[in-house]
Subunit: 388 residues, 2 copies
């Protein structure tokens, strides 16, 4: 099987920026091009993710705008939106196009502006985020995403005895990792005590259980199998799984198992001819600490029901048996919606090249990224590995 | 070259509906499934287009919602948005996935709600539509899309002597065709005199030069080359071209040539091993009458500069040398943004099967569809033909 490979990767710092989306995206895209040693004129297509530009600042049809901003006017561009799984889905489609022989060199990335620079306050942004829940069956109840993931997590606590203190350990770990990542939104560490004393956002989540609204962009250069060896340090795409689920929480058969993640992971592992045990680390979609617990189990990295215990015992720490979110995760690195998926792939690329500095996972050769959207109703799971 | 084929197609009536988007989409999707004789469980993936649901009714992450509504919960779904070229772009990506061997049976379609059922008045909808123009360089001027296409058309009039009366002939032709299409938004004919007496919307466009805001959905079932012969009346995808351009009108080298359309058409004709002369009819993106004139030239169907004259002389009539918009086009059939692109492909399929009733183009064996987005900055051109 011909495998696409990532040969360039970059991201802006995730955090608060006050620049138009094309400029933010440009920083990441031009950085990825420079990293790969590819000129804009060599890029054949752009697979672009943005989740909310229409709602936040009346800015749609962004594809041609960002393409021309980075010197690629005229190429085919498509914009993807699948809530928080937006740019991982763009990546999946790009991988299929490159592996199918449609293109040899493509740019994949995403951008989002979520902070008050767009002219919206936190309440209004929370309402906009909630557009990804079910319009008819959920939004009228007033539920927003902290509530959605609180309900997932409450069920897990009920079934498995997961505790608030265990959730706090996830936050402590991810803030510790983020403090070593110069691109992270938050550079500060926290403690279990501080996390447990924070104000309640949606029971069982306190402030430190929740990821921030971030601005940012991320991008990777993807090339065909035949071209990959002509680049420095290509990182292979082993597989990309993609599955969905019914949207309403109330319709899910067993909410806390996040079935779409299990289905997508099974596809990705099979494509990569590997299994959860073959992973050296993982970047997962920890929009809330409870989401990391669920993801660690859905990906098969931790036994079902043990995700909270594993975090508290250090099994998912940077020096643990299966490091999770060495970048700091959404929790500390930040969550610029449409940039989050390819942002995870930037971390995979950096780690698998051995370029992650103080947060490097020693000897990492294969890793998995997990990017979900909405009520865990879209999940994309990507396995990447050092080119053999 | 393995060719994907359309084996099922359907659409709602375009017009005014008051049902949620998943129900509108369901009508088209279930119709396409029934037309093909395919069960929902046989569909492997959904390529879905919606342009403005987030802005119009705070409804995003629609992919999993519409998939589960039509009995396909769990399958991979991706939402595309490229302004008015949204669902043609979804189709392009679906064709590449099927021809690349990723999937054998997929559903492609789009939906949009644009009428006051979404709780927005015409002024607010016009502002939302304008989000597809350049946020920094155009929106602050107050320009909206009638103005954008008026400027394209004014330049064409200046260069080539195109007249308002010729534009009126485009409206008369398309309303005449639409009156024969039971799925069209408008069933009424018009006259050159009536068109020329209408109120000015944006000089040179009067009311009858402008397409309506419509609600609607459209869908097709696409299968792999190997499977196509097991279906009744498969219609082959000859080629799909996709190109972009800089967004701002002021940045375009020669605005009225709509370069992206020329680039996309060249790709599509080359893939299909044909040329403009091989087309038996065309569906083009006549959001305004002037846009049809430009498209007829960009696709090579009419000599440059002669688009207006050709319409007035009946060369593009249903019984003319190259019929354009036998469905009624966006002008009379309607324009539910995210459903428009695959709506054109429903017409191509219907005509190429000889099922178009009173508006049938006799002996049609090959046709082209042209779907553009924003300031003509995204264009997708699709060639379809009777399976040989």
């Amino acid at each position: 099987m011909a495998r696409a490979a990532v040969v360039g990767a970059d991201m802006t710092r995730f955090g608060v920026h006050d620049r138009p989306m094309q400029e933010l995206f440009g920083e990441a895209a031009l950085g990825a091009l420079a990293d790969a040693g590819v000129e804009p004129g060599e890029v054949e297509a752009l697979y672009f993710g943005n989740a909310m530009g229409g709602q936040t600042e009346n800015d749609t049809h962004l594809g041609p705008k960002v393409a021309s901003h980075v010197g690629m006017a005229g190429i085919p561009v498509q914009r993807y939106e699948d809530a928080c799984a937006t740019s991982a889905n763009a990546f999946k489609n790009a991988v299929e196009a490159v592996e199918g022989g449609v293109h040899d060199v493509v740019l994949v990335g995403g951008v989002e502006r979520c902070t008050p620079g767009v002219g919206k306050d936190t309440a209004e942004m929370t309402r906009i985020f909630a557009s990804a829940s079910h319009r008819q069956y959920e939004q009228p109840t007033g539920i927003t995403f902290p509530g959605v993931f609180a309900l997932f997590t409450k069920r897990h606590m009920h079934e498995h005895g997961t505790t608030e203190e265990q959730l706090a350990h996830v936050a402590v770990k991810n803030h510790g990792n983020g403090a070593l990542n110069p691109k992270a939104h938050f550079g500060k560490q926290t403690t279990v005590e501080e996390a447990l004393e924070g104000p309640i956002v949606a029971d069982p989540f306190r402030l430190m259980d929740c990821c921030p609204f971030s601005d940012g962009a991320s991008a990777v250069i993807l090339v065909s199998d035949d071209l990959a060896d002509s680049f420095d340090a290509p990182v292979d795409v082993g597989g990309v799984g993609h599955a969905t689920d019914v949207v309403p929480l109330a319709d899910k058969e067993v909410p806390h198992v996040t079935q779409a993640a299990r289905d997508a992971a099974a596809q990705a592992y099979e494509q990569a001819d590997t299994s959860a045990g073959g992973m050296d680390f993982a970047e997962v979609h920890d929009c809330f600490t409870g989401a990391e617990v669920l993801a660690s189990e859905a990906l098969g990295l931790i036994e079902d029901g043990q995700g909270g215990f594993a975090a508290a015992e250090g099994r998912t720490a940077r020096d643990g048996e299966i490091p999770i979110n060495p970048s700091g995760g959404l929790k500390a690195k930040g969550h610029p919606i449409g940039a989050t998926g390819t942002g995870q792939l930037v971390e995979l690329t950096t780690q698998l090249r051995g370029d992650a500095g103080e947060r490097q996972i020693d000897g990492a050769e294969r890793a998995v990224a997990h990017n979900l959207g909405g009520d865990a109703a879209t999940t994309v799971v990507t396995v990447m590995e050092v080119r053999g």
